[in-house]
Amino acid sequence: MTTLSRRRFLKTSAQASGGLIVAIHLPGCAFGGALPIDVADDGFVPNAFLQITQHNEIIFYCPSDEMGQGIRTGLATVIGEELDVHPASMTVVSAGSHEDYNNPEYAMQLTGGSNAVRAFYLPLRQIGADTRALILQAAAQDLGIPTSQLTTRNATVIAGDRHYPYGDFLVTASSLPLPENTTLKNSRDFQFIGQEITRVDAREKATGEAIFGIDIDVPDQVAAVVVRPPVAGATVTSFDPTAALASSGVLQVVEISSGIAVVADSYWQASRAAKRLQVTWNNPALSTVSSDSMRADLTAALYDGDDAVTDDTGDIDSALTSGAPPPQVIMHSAEYFAPLLAHAPMEPVNATLRLRNGEADLWTGVQAIGAAQGLIERITGYPRENIRVHNQYLGGGFGRRASLAHIIEVTEIALAVNKPVQLVWSREDDIKHGLYRPASLMQLSAAVDDTGRISGWRAKRAGGNLTPDYMRNSLPALMPNLPEFVLDGLTAATDYWLSRWSIDGSSVEGLHETYDLPTRQISHVTVDHGLPLTFWRSVGHSYTGFAVESMMDELAEAADIDPVVFRLKQLESKPRMYEVVAKAGELLTAMSVPEGHFLGFAAHSSFATDVAQIAEVSVTDNLIKVHRVTCVVNCGTAVNPDIIRAQLEGSVMFALTATLHGKIDLAEGAIVQSNFHDYPILRMDEAPDVDVFIMPSDEKPTGIGEPGVPPLAPAVANAVYRACGQRLRELPLRLA
C-alpha cells in the first residue's frame, strides 16, 4: 500500500468528505476553519470525530469534557457501537475547539446540564455507522467482494475467514464520499451499549499518569498567583509590591483587571510572596452584606417583594382559600432555605498559556473550551485560528469550570510576562473568590382534596439569578469582537429584564414539574447582592428539590396518607416517574432496618431523568448519620450501567456534603470560609452505602451527572423527621 504524505492525506480527506466533514453543523459563534486534529502521516480523518491510521489505531475526538462523569467512555461506547470498535480499543482524546464539536443542544462547546449522552447519542451513532459503511465500501472495492458478503468486528472487516484491519482500506476510503443516513442498529443488536465496559480512563487515573491542567509543564514556564479583593467586585486603590518583589524566586508583580498577580519561578514561591503583598481595595456595595442581612433581604423579598409569576394555571386563589368548602381537606404552608455553596473541585482552577509569535496555546481543563478560545481572542487580538486550546482531564467540574475568570487572568498576565505562564488558584482562592450556588428562600403552600390529590400549589422563590453572571462571563467569549459598552449594555438589560419582567428558568426549575399540579402558581422575586453566582451540580433543582420533597412528606402526613402512595396520586399523568416511585416504594416496603434507623423517601425529576431515593438514617446525640441510600433511576437506555451507578453514588456523596455540612457565609461582603477545615467535604467515615436500581428502558438516554443530587437532602430530612420528630426546613440540616 502506498504511504501517503500528511499533506496529501489531509487534502484527500478534505476533498473526500466535502461538506460531510462538518458532521453536526449548527449555527453559532464557534470557530470553523481547519479541524484541530494532528493528522498522522498515515492517518485518515473521515470526519471531525475520528482518525484511523494504517496501523489501525482508531482515535476518537471526544466533544465533551471529562470531569469524572465518564463521558469519554460513554461517547466512545456510542460511536464504537455503530463503528464496530470496542471503546477499550480506541484512543480517546479531548477534541480541540471547533464548531463541529458544538453540543447539539447548546450550539456551542459546553459540557454541562447532564446532556452530553442525550445530545450526542444519535449524531455520534450516525457518524459511527456512516464511517463503518465507508470502510465497507472501500473494502468491497479493494477486495472485489460485494459489501453484502462483508461484515465487521472490532475494527476489522471480515470476508469469509479472512480478517482485514480497517486501516487496510484507507486509501480507497479517502477517495469515496462519506455515506449519509446509514441505517442504525436495532437496540437488540447492541454489543457495547448496555454493557459494563471499564472506564477508558480508569488505568491512567489509577497509576497517576492522567494529565490534568495543573500537571502541564512547558519549557520556560513561570508560575503566577493572583491576589484578589476580599469582597467581590472591589478594585485596587493602591498596592506596594516591595516586600513581594524581595521574596525569593519572584520575577514580576503585575496589576491585572481582577487584582495583583505575583509571578515567580514556582507556584510555591509565588504563593509565599503573594502573602507579603500590600494591597488596598475600595468598598463595593456588597461590602455591607452579611449572611444575616442577606437572609433578612430574602425574607423581606419573599413576603413583601414584587414577584414575577412564571406559571399561573387554574384558579390558585380559590384553591388556597382558607376555609373553602370540601372537597378540600388539608391546607399547609412552609418555608425552606438553602444557603450559598461553593463547588470545591479537588483540582483548583488553573491555566497555562503560551503566547508566541502571534500564536496562543492554552492548556487547561474547562467545561467551555470555545469560550476560553474566544476570551483569548478578545484580550490578545490574535486571530481565532492562531489560538489552540488543549483541554486536559478536569479534576472535578460540578459547574465551576464553565466559568472562565482564570482564563482572563492568565491571558492578562501572559501579555505582561514574556514567558509561558501557569496560573494556579490556591484552595483559599477557590473557596473565597469563586462563583456560588445562590442562597434561596422558598415558600410553598398547598391544598389537598379528599381524594388525596393536591388541589392547589403555590411556590415562590426569592434569591439571585444565574443568567446575568453567565452572560457577563460568556458574552465576551462568544462574541469576542463586540465592544465593551455593548456587552455592558446587554448584561445590564438582562439583569433588569430578569429582575422585573421575566424569570430566570434556572431560579425556579423543579418547583412543580415532577408532579401533576393542575392548579398552580409559580413565582419569583429576584434579590441580587452582587456576589457572583453560577451553576452548581443540579442548579435550581439543588434547592427546589429539597423544598418540594420535604413539602410532599409534610402534606402526606397532614393527609394521613403513606408518603409513597401520596406521591403516586400526583403522578397519574407521568408514567415514567410513577414507575420509578412505585419501584422504590416496593423496595422500601421490603426493607428491614436495625432498631433506631429510620427511612426517608424523596423523588425528583431533573435533566429529563427520574430518580427516587430512600435514605436510612439514625439520629443519636444530635448527630445525623446516613447509613444507606437506595436509588431508583430511569435515565432511558443505560449506555453503561456501572457508570450510571457511579454517578448516583457520587451524587449521593456530593449532596450529602450539602445536606450535613455545606454553607458559605458572608461577613462585610467577604466569604468567611477558606479551606476544607471550615468548608468540610464528606469523608470516608461518613459515606453511606449506596444501592442503585436502574429501570430497564429502550428510550433515548437522558442525563445522569446531576439528577441524583436533588432528592438526597429531602430524603434525609424526611428520615430525620421520622427519627426524632424535628422537621428541618433549612440546609445544612441542624438539629435543635
Partner: protein, 172 residues
C-alpha cells in the same frame, strides 16, 4: 543540598529548604502524579510514603525527607507493573475525575503494609484524611477490601450488579 531517595533513586535538591516536598517532587523532579488540593494538609491529594508511612506532603518541608526514602504513586508498583490496589481500582471502576486517586491509593497502600486484612473501620480510619469530591468512597472501600487478603474482600471482586438488561431488574 538535601539528599533523599525518590522511588528508588538518589536525588538531591538544592533549592529553598522550606519548599514543601510536594512541590519539589512536582516541579523539580517532574513527577506529576501527586496532586495539590489544599496546601494545608487537609485533603490528602498530595499523599506520598516517607519511609513507608503515608504522609501529606503539601505542608511538609523537604528537609524532613533528608536521608529518607520517598515513594510516590509513580514508584508504588516498582517493577511489578501494577500494585494490587491499582488493579483493584481498575476492576472496580473506582476513579471519576481521578484527581484525588493517587493520594487515596498511597494512603491505602500504607494501610495494607501495616494491616494486610483491614476491617471496614480500619479503612475509614486510614482514608478519612483523603477527600474525594466525586464521592468514590464506596468503590474505594470495595477496591481496598478486594486488594487485601481480608475475608470481607473475598468474593467482592465484582461490583454489585443491580441491573438486569432482561427487563426484570435485579437486586444486589
Amino acid at each position: 543540598m538535601i539528599a533523599f531517595t525518590l522511588n528508588g533513586q538518589q536525588v538531591e535538591f538544592a533549592g529553598d529548604p522550606e519548599t514543601p516536598l510536594l512541590w519539589v517532587v512536582r516541579d523539580t523532579f517532574k513527577l506529576k502524579g501527586s496532586k495539590f488540593g489544599c496546601g494545608a494538609g487537609l485533603c490528602g491529594a498530595c499523599t506520598m510514603h516517607l519511609n513507608g508511612k503515608a504522609i501529606k506532603t503539601c505542608v511538609l518541608p523537604v528537609t524532613v525527607a533528608a536521608g529518607k526514602t520517598v515513594t510516590t504513586i509513580e514508584g508504588l508498583a516498582g517493577d511489578h507493573g501494577l500494585h494490587p490496589l491499582q488493579t483493584a481500582w481498575i476492576t472496580h471502576n473506582v476513579p471519576q475525575c481521578g484527581y484525588c486517586q493517587s493520594g487515596q491509593i498511597m494512603a491505602a497502600a500504607a494501610l495494607l503494609e501495616e494491616t494486610p486484612t483491614p476491617s471496614s473501620v480500619d479503612i475509614d480510619r486510614a482514608l478519612s484524611g483523603n477527600i474525594c469530591r466525586c464521592g468514590c468512597y464506596p468503590r474505594i472501600k470495595a477496591a481496598v477490601l478486594a486488594a487485601s487478603n481480608s475475608e470481607a474482600g473475598a468474593g467482592d471482586d465484582e461490583p454489585a450488579l443491580f441491573y438486569d438488561a432482561t427487563g426484570q431488574g435485579g437486586q444486589a
